[in-house]
Amino acid sequence: MLDKLAIAAHDLRMTYDGARPVHALKDVMLDIRQGEMLLVMGPSGSGKSTLLSIIGGLLTPTGGSVSVSGTEITHLGRKALGRFRLQNFGYVFQTFNLFSSMTGAENVELAFDIRGVRGRKARTAVRDLLSQFGLNEQADRLARDLSGGEKQRVAIARALAGNPCAILADEPTSQLDAENGAIVTDILSELARKRGTTVVIAAHDDRIQKVADRVVRLDDGRL
């Protein structure tokens, strides 16, 4: 299962324009295999988020290319790229990014709704996902009233709504205590092992290092 190429980044360069241009990525080459759990480490400002954004089709690089499951995404238009993200990626954020005035279940249901899955089918799928992550009790509580660990589990459930081939997680545990960090780490590694989902995590978390299939280090934009 680890043979198939899921994401191939070639010669990635990223320069942020400004009064003083920032070279956030310099000639990054990276191949990620299907079902692989890859950890990108590096100090703050080394370019981890930039790399994740480019791989995830959120940011167009200044140079180089990214292909995902054989599709060259760096040249897709804005709309096509949006559709591609919706169908292929799930995102997990450091700050969870849930709709705080909606319940946990509604947040996940929204992710189905935007993919055109509605009604009973969506609600059943939502309950399935939430119960997998031990969130039966929390489903009907407002997102703002959940603990950090619960929020991040809801966010992972949301990221899985489109049955993505890859999950991109930017510092998913850095706002969590050790116990909840461990739970989230386990969930992410299970995804890679049991579902065969490609999981790319940017973090500097030792626990993730232990379960990751591979660790790469970014230093000042260089791998």
């Binding site: 988020s49 949006g82 995102y91 700050t95 709709f99 935007i114």
Partner: protein
């Protein structure tokens, strides 16, 4: 707070539209009160009060036109009113046949209407009583040099834009008109019947076949020289358009309605903008996940529509509530189904367009924003 802003803007709009409907309806009240299918006037006629006289003899000629079931005269003159306490007022005398079938201001009962057959009897709208310095039926004043007795009071018949309408019989109206024989008639005697050369303003015509009133109007115009024959709809439109388009009043009312709409856009836009900004990160997350712009606009359109409806319902209630107060002052606030729908459509348009503008910021936002803590 937020809600009251929308209610305020939509109310402004509703009241303006209702005032506009009321106004344009009010200008045509005398025409709407008649059941005539065809109106015959001088060719120079501009609007109901702005026209030149015809001869009374025209009525008989029109009765002879095939297809005419009934023809009655309507006259219009100037009234110089002097109240019992010597208060002066200027009005218009509308003369018609109280025994006829085609004109009955305020739909008075038959017996009431016949009171106008008495010499120098008149009726006015209730809103005009204080202008004429009158308190009750039976009081008298003077029009020109002749007596004038208040026979009954009508309701909802007085156009806002017009001087007081005095409704009288044709004979009394003719006597009050200074150029006519009234000058020679000894005080106290009844006014004489009209001669065929006496002036009237309109001939109201009932068609044998109301469905063919356009053809009848054409036939009358063809067979009687120097007249303009109009269907009821044409007559209404001519007068309404005069007031709405040729005077500044329509413009002013539209302008104020437009200002209501602008305030609405500003208020709703501000509210939605603030709300979207508060949830900017959340909407940005949706965008990062890959929803299309249409979905985001759909979400805000739904929110905006809710706001429009929430603002609309109380504003309509408020407008209904102030109707009574306005009516006492002779100002008609008219809420037609069409007007109500128009305001709802405008409120939706205002809210949705404001929402679209507010959502622009999210749509234009960089999706990579979400990975920046």
């Amino acid at each position: 707070m937020a809600l009251s802003g929308i209610v305020f803007a939509v109310t402004l709009l509703t009241v303006q539209v209702a005032l506009f409907s009321g106004f344009s309806n009010s200008t045509t009240l005398p025409i709407a009160e008649s059941s005539a299918d065809v109106w015959v006037a001088a060719p120079e006629m501009l609007y109901f009060e702005g026209t030149l006289p015809l001869e009374y003899g025209t009525v008989a000629k029109i009765r002879a036109v095939p297809g005419v079931a009934r023809a009655e005269a309507l006259s219009l003159g100037i009234a110089r009113w002097r109240s019992p306490h010597d208060e002066l007022a200027l009005g218009r005398i509308i003369g018609f046949d109280p025994g006829g079938k085609l004109f009955n201001p305020g739909n008075a009962a038959g017996a009431t209407l016949k009171l106008l057959r008495r010499p120098y009897a008149f009726a006015v709208d209730a809103t005009q009583l204080h202008i004429l310095d009158l308190q009750r039926v039976g009081q008298s004043g003077v029009i020109g040099t002749l007596p004038a007795h208040l026979a009954y009071v009508t309701r909802g018949t007085q156009p806002i834009v017009s001087a007081t309408f005095f409704y009288t019989s044709l004979e009394t109206a003719n006597a009050y008109t200074p150029s006519a024989l009234s000058f020679f008639s000894p005080p106290g005697s009844a006014p004489p019947p009209l001669e065929s050369t006496d002036p009237i303003m309109y001939v109201m015509v009932q068609a044998k076949n109301p469905a063919a009133s356009a053809q009848l109007a054409a036939a009358i115009q063809h067979s009687i020289p120097h007249v303009r024959a109009m269907t009821r709809a044409e007559m209404l439109a001519t007068t309404r358009d005069y007031w709405v388009k040729r005077t500044g009043i329509g413009f002013i009312l539209s302008l104020i309605a437009l200002m209501g709409a602008i305030v609405g856009v500003a208020v709703v836009g501000q509210i939605l903008y603030t709300s979207i900004n508060e949830h900017f990160h959340e909407y940005g997350t949706l965008k990062a996940i890959g929803v299309n712009d249409g979905y985001l606009y759909g979400v805000v359109a739904l929110q905006a529509s809710c706001m429009a409806v929430i603002g609309y319902v109380p504003s309509l209630a408020f407008t209904f509530a102030i109707r009574g107060i306005a009516a006492e002052r002779g100002v008609d606030i008219l809420i037609t189904p069409g007007g109500a729908l128009l305001v709802l459509a405008a409120a939706l348009l205002i809210c949705i367009s404001a929402g679209m503008v507010a959502m622009q910021r999210v749509v234009r936002a960089d999706p990579a924003l979400v990975f920046r803590a």
